[in-house]
């Protein structure tokens, strides 16, 4: 068990430790402790807080993650109500279709959306002389691609909570004179809140950290994962360790918030 935890933690620990190595490479020999990879503004070592390329890519990733999360959560809530509250022909088939994005490899989801949107764009350009820039590889397509599979995960999280909801509470609201919509928004939605926030955190992180789908759909602007990947291939400086350490802290905090929240609500 101890060996298992060393196995789990080792890569994360070395990433963190080498962020403070006073050397141009994230490897031995250990040249002494420095925080240059965070705060140095010039010279050979440009710290993360002054590396405008990486900072820009962080901004992009945050933007993409916010938009994707917002879209995914909206559709996921609608899906959850549909599957939990209504019966209709083809329901189980639709439910299966809804789960499909989980088993489609991310790379494939990316290329299929790339092919489809380019076809539409070509068609519009050739026959209608309309040039829709957002259908070409770029940030909009990245959002669409990520949305396509994150929505499934959000739907599962929110449905699970909606299943536990006691319908008599809603009926009580109806008896007290609330309209059905009002009952849902004043009684059911507050009950779902922990699940919605949880799904939003998961969705934000999945979007922020996504590589496979994003990599197929990016245009000229690189979100963080793509920018880091390019640098990793070129051979990296410890600035990547510095940013990785910040990412670890960020996702660690989000993970703990999410876990404590789930505990409270259950």
């Amino acid at each position: 068990m101890v060996a298992f935890f060393i196995f789990l933690a080792a890569p994360l620990i070395v990433v963190g430790v080498f962020a403070f190595n006073d050397s141009l490479f994230p490897s031995f020999p250990w040249q002494g402790f420095t925080t240059d990879w965070f705060f140095s503004s010039e010279g050979e070592k440009v710290g993360i807080f002054f590396d405008s390329e990486l900072l820009d890519s962080i901004g992009l990733s945050v933007g993409i993650a916010i938009v994707t999360t917002f879209l995914a959560i909206s559709v996921a809530c609608s899906n959850a109500f549909l599957f939990e509250r209504f019966n209709f022909p083809g329901k189980s088939f639709l439910y299966m279709l809804m789960l499909l994005p989980l088993v489609i490899p991310g790379v494939l989801l990316g290329v299929s959306i790339l092919v489809f949107s380019s076809e539409i764009a070509n068609y519009l350009e050739d026959y209608w002389f309309i040039d829709l820039e957002f259908l070409r590889p770029g940030l909009t397509l990245v959002v669409i691609g990520q949305f396509a599979f994150i929505t499934t995960i959000c739907t599962l999280i929110i449905s699970a909570r909606l299943k536990k909801f006691d319908r008599s509470l809603e009926e009580a609201a109806l008896n007290l004179g609330a309209s059905p919509l009002m009952a849902v928004f004043t009684v059911t939605v507050p009950f779902l809140k922990p699940a919605i926030v949880g799904a939003a955190i998961v969705s934000f992180l999945m979007s922020f950290e996504n590589f496979n789908t994003t990599f197929m759909l990016v245009g000229s602007d690189a979100p963080l994962t793509v920018a880091m990947f390019e640098r990793l291939r070129e051979g990296s400086t410890p600035v990547l360790n510095a940013i990785s350490l910040l990412l670890m802290l960020g996702s660690g905090v989000l993970a703990i918030i999410n876990m404590t929240m789930q505990k409270k609500s259950s």
């Binding site: 092919v115 990412l247 989000l254």
Partner: protein, 287 residues
């Protein structure tokens, strides 16, 4: 609980909720994949039907060998992950109680909230020629010179197992959790050995968890791009890399589409076989 009566306002509500779902699934999942299918069978110059791109796949050894290699290595990674995750999950679900259980389980989960890129980067620092393990081996006298541990198949395997560990541990812990301890005790009372109890009681009960874990891990390995490329280097020969090359580097979308569909076919086949063998339903395993 039964659904609301299908009177007209509820019907309207249902259609309103149905619309985004259908738009999402049709526009982003179904049509793009059909388009991919159409692409893979179309001759780009004449616009006519062709099997050429699939023919190309079977005629060029590099392509189908990469395909087979990816599949075999993904299966091996799945089995390895299962073998490591099972005792860990058993320990968490059955040996630990109360608070310590929650904490150990959470400690297993937290590393996976960190981006895959960061985790892979960590392995690169550990394993490269000037890396931590190489230096440790030299310092301890086990090796005379620097050791390059990156860019081998074993490294890719290590990376794949590491990345997918969580997706095996979580379903296993939740199914093992639901196994009543008294069954295990009964097994021992009836004179079963450790091995008997494991084989006759624990494993049959854990099968649903094993299947969903294996399916997810296999899918993730098969579709992985980062780990093989970064840990395996130039000769990693992963099929997703081929797809990327065809689409982005060579701009041969038709060939890339054919490759993509072959990958999808393989993964669906394995998922289907896994469910068939264990008699599970797709919706239950995934949901």
């Amino acid at each position: 609980m039964s659904s609301l009566p299908a009177t007209s306002p509820f019907k309207l509500g249902m259609w309103l909720l149905l619309a985004p779902l259908c738009l999402w699934l049709i526009l982003l999942i179904i049509l793009p994949h059909l388009e991919l299918l159409a692409f893979s069978f179309t001759d780009p110059e004449q616009g006519s039907f062709t099997f050429g791109f699939y023919q190309e796949f079977f005629l060029e050894p590099l392509y189908w060998r990469t395909f087979v290699r990816t599949a075999v290595m993904s299966i091996m990674a799945t089995i390895l992950t299962l073998l490591i995750a099972f005792p860990v999950a058993f320990y968490i679900a059955k040996m630990l109680k109360g608070r310590s259980k929650g904490i150990v389980f959470a400690m297993c989960l937290i590393p996976f909230w960190v981006s895959e890129l960061v985790r892979t980067f960590g392995w690169m620092i550990l394993l490269r020629e000037s890396g931590v393990i190489s230096n440790f081996l030299q310092w301890s006298g086990l090796s005379a010179g620097p050791v390059e541990l990156l860019y081998t198949d074993a490294t890719i395997m290590l990376g794949l197992v590491y990345t997918s560990m969580l997706f095996m541990v979580v379903p296993l812990v939740s199914t093992l959790d639901s196994l009543d301890d008294s069954y295990i005790e009964a097994g021992y009372d009836l004179g079963g050995t450790n091995w008997n109890v494991l084989r006759e009681i624990v494993i049959p009960h854990a099968i649903p968890g094993v299947v969903s874990g294996c399916i997810i891990v296999f899918m993730l390995s098969l579709g992985n791009y980062l780990t093989p490329v970064l840990l395996g280097g130039k000769d990693s020969l992963w099929f997703t890399e081929q797809i990327y090359t065809q689409f982005i580097t060579r701009f041969n979308w038709e060939q890339g589409s054919a490759f993509g569909l072959l990958l999808l076919l393989l993964s669906s086949l394995i998922v289907w076989a896994g469910l068939k063998v264990s008699r599970q339903s797709f919706a239950k395993t995934m949901g």
